[in-house]
Symmetry: C2
Subunit: 415 residues, 2 copies
């Protein structure tokens, strides 16, 4: 498709410049982009108002309208995000593992940008600035495909950033927006092998599944979290209740929220009434198996479908198990490889859970809500990878880079 | 497809055992598998004879027949390969970057197996034992789909390894062969999301392209190498000739062989006759642009297609450029991201080439033929990745693993 080929060629051109750009110039460009967003906030807000008017006319649900909406504060938050990324260390250029081989070759691994990153996301215009900032700092050109409902907002944000880049003597094609709502264009974007090095979908499970299924470009799968808390025997049950309450209710719509409680049969009789009482404050619905229902009468029956469900709502599934082995098997069967916690006092059980659970983040005695780039100390994140290739867990700047081998020789040939 | 689902479920079962298996038991199983291959060599040779007879009847080309053929020595080499993998260090279990966060959480990164690895390859039965050995040592279950022409040989090899695993009290499903020649089964294998964590194609460009296009499981692209040697001004021209001769002719059918020569115009007049003279020993055909032809009369005209071609044969394309900038642009346009060399005496040119060339391995003054797990000091390799995600360049045992975050808490919840 000629339109996409042009975008791809321009991204490749920008990539060549970014690949070797000094950290200082990148940071200056990020700060300039932050200034332009602030200076052009009236234009951005006006564009957002167009999107909002369209969305209201279509009868968009209030939650989605809120995601789409921009305010002066939200624009300031985007600008502040770019400022923070400018302050972070440059991940590019470090050479590690440099070793001399017996034949005298000096071989090392140099950290370099990925190249061209594609991001497909829904109608949250703030992702536009955030994704640009992280990709740019890591030396990548970025091609953005946001939700059609946010098209005017995204155009205004990308235009402001582009002017900032031009002002700094850098190619504005370092960030490009696919501004066609045509589904064929989106389908073509997922097949831009040779132009796009990696595609990162950000959004709900449906979007991610589509990108995984359709894309021929390498994808980093992010997001879906069917996170479990397993309350062991012996465990500090009041600690367990506090962790469960935090992980389930502090924010329900996020991927690191708890969706399922697994309880050892020896503590179910005491713990489930405690758990139900504190979750009742937030009107959380509990759906359990027969033994859970026997232990706590407010629990309603769960179906097979509940075990695999990411509710993103005030609902929790509850499973009673006979031992830690059954708990681990249940979690490994139904989890999405995101975040899992054991609450226990037993040393061997803690170690076994850490060893055997197959997930991006495995916790002992802490809330699953900590799986987050900021909480892990990485600064901003582009998403949380739930796949095993390249990056697993919160993805910071380093995960937006790759390495290449560099080899210093003196005329060596292979015998 | 029920057949593939069964294979997937069995692989998942084996994966659970391998995930936490001690290094000592893995090594013992590898040594036992080596013994079984030796002890059952008559069975394997007999099975191979069946494949060879079929292949001869079909009129298979001599080169392919040679790849398919097994001998006592080749079986010994497979057994020796497993023994060497047993002697290598265990990549699994290391915990790095363990840090205490301000809230007291202790967060670290633990190296763990990928899970289930799928390998799709052509009719080289030795890949069967090699791929099993590397995947198993890294703690992975492996599902193999070899070329249909090698089916009997592969069945015999997998059966011998399976008996060795059972003997060691381990699940023989740690290695499974897809033994249906049905193309629909192969297509289904590439879409086993949920069962297969990564698919690695090993073989020619056509096979790799198909897997990249068709697979919905994450793929690691390996192999294709359109490798360049750029002879700069100033350069030691006799060193350049030696490196070119080695990279082009030491073995022509491999991915790290040189396929294209790029020469600075200031040295073309002296270097091209030298290069042509030494390559004439091996009857290498040179296809060049007009300026290359002007400098050396044995050079025939190249077409646009030649610049992007991986010949795997005694043919070399030759391009004359006006400076290092044009050389880098040419190489980055036509290369496949494998291995590229500059021959130079100039410090700044060497550094610029290392910085700006976009490839898995970038050399100064050495043959491209060194891009190889053994030559890099990794021991055996599963292939050479030419993509940027997860692994780039020769892939050893470590590249067959991933990491997970492990977090030790004391009841922390998120505010």
């Amino acid at each position: 498709m000629e339109y996409l080929e042009q975008i791809g060629r321009r991204a490749k051109g920008a990539e060549t410049v970014l690949r070797t750009l000094d950290g200082g110039r990148k940071d200056q460009a990020l700060l300039t982009a932050a200034e332009y967003l602030r200076a052009e906030s009236a234009l951005v807000l006006q564009a957002n108002e167009e999107d909002m008017a369209q969305a209201r006319k279509k009868g968009m649900a209030p939650g989605l309208l809120d995601r789409l909406s921009l305010t002066q504060e939200r624009i300031e938050a985007m600008a502040e995000g770019l400022t923070q990324v400018a302050a972070a260390g440059d991940p590019v250029g470090e050479v590690t593992e440099m070793k001399k081989r017996p034949n005298g070759l000096l071989i090392g691994k140099k950290r370099v940008p990925l190249g061209v990153v594609g991001i497909i996301y829904e109608s949250r215009p703030n992702v536009t600035a955030d994704a640009f900032g992280l990709c740019f700092k890591a030396g990548n050109a970025v091609i953005l495909k946001g939700g059609s409902d946010a098209l005017s907002s995204n155009r205004a944000i990308v235009a402001a950033i582009g002017r900032a880049l031009s002002d700094c003597g850098l190619p504005k094609e370092a960030v490009q927006l696919i501004d066609s709502p045509d589904r064929l264009v989106t389908a073509g974007f997922m097949k831009m092998n040779g132009y796009v090095d990696v595609l990162i979908p950000r959004g709900g499970a449906g979007l991610i599944r589509t990108v995984v299924q359709e894309s021929t470009v390498p994808v980093i799968e992010t997001g879906t979290g069917n996170c479990h808390i397993y309350v062991d025997d012996p465990a500090d049950l009041s600690m367990a209740a506090k962790i469960l309450y935090n992980a389930k209710t502090q924010r329900t719509g996020v991927c690191n929220a708890c969706e399922s409680l697994v309880v050892h049969e020896a503590v179910a009789g005491r713990f489930l009434p405690m758990a139900a009482a504190c979750l009742a404050e937030k009107k959380v619905e509990l759906r359990g198996d027969a033994r859970a229902m026997a232990a706590e009468k407010s629990i309603v029956p769960a179906t097979e479908e509940d075990w695999g469900k990411e509710y993103l709502d005030y609902i929790l599934s509850v499973k009673v198990v006979k031992d830690i082995g059954e708990a681990i098997a249940h979690i490994n069967r139904y989890n999405t490889g995101h975040s899992e916690t054991i609450v226990t006092k037993d040393y061997a059980h803690a170690q076994r859970f850490l060893d055997e659970i197959d997930a991006a983040a495995v916790y002992v005695n802490a809330s699953t809500r900590f799986t987050d780039g900021g909480e892990f100390g990485f600064g901003a994140e582009i998403g949380i990878s739930t796949q095993k290739l390249h990056a697993r867990g919160p993805m910071g700047l380093k995960e937006l880079t790759t390495t290449k081998y560099i080899i210093y020789g003196e005329g060596q040939v292979r015998e």
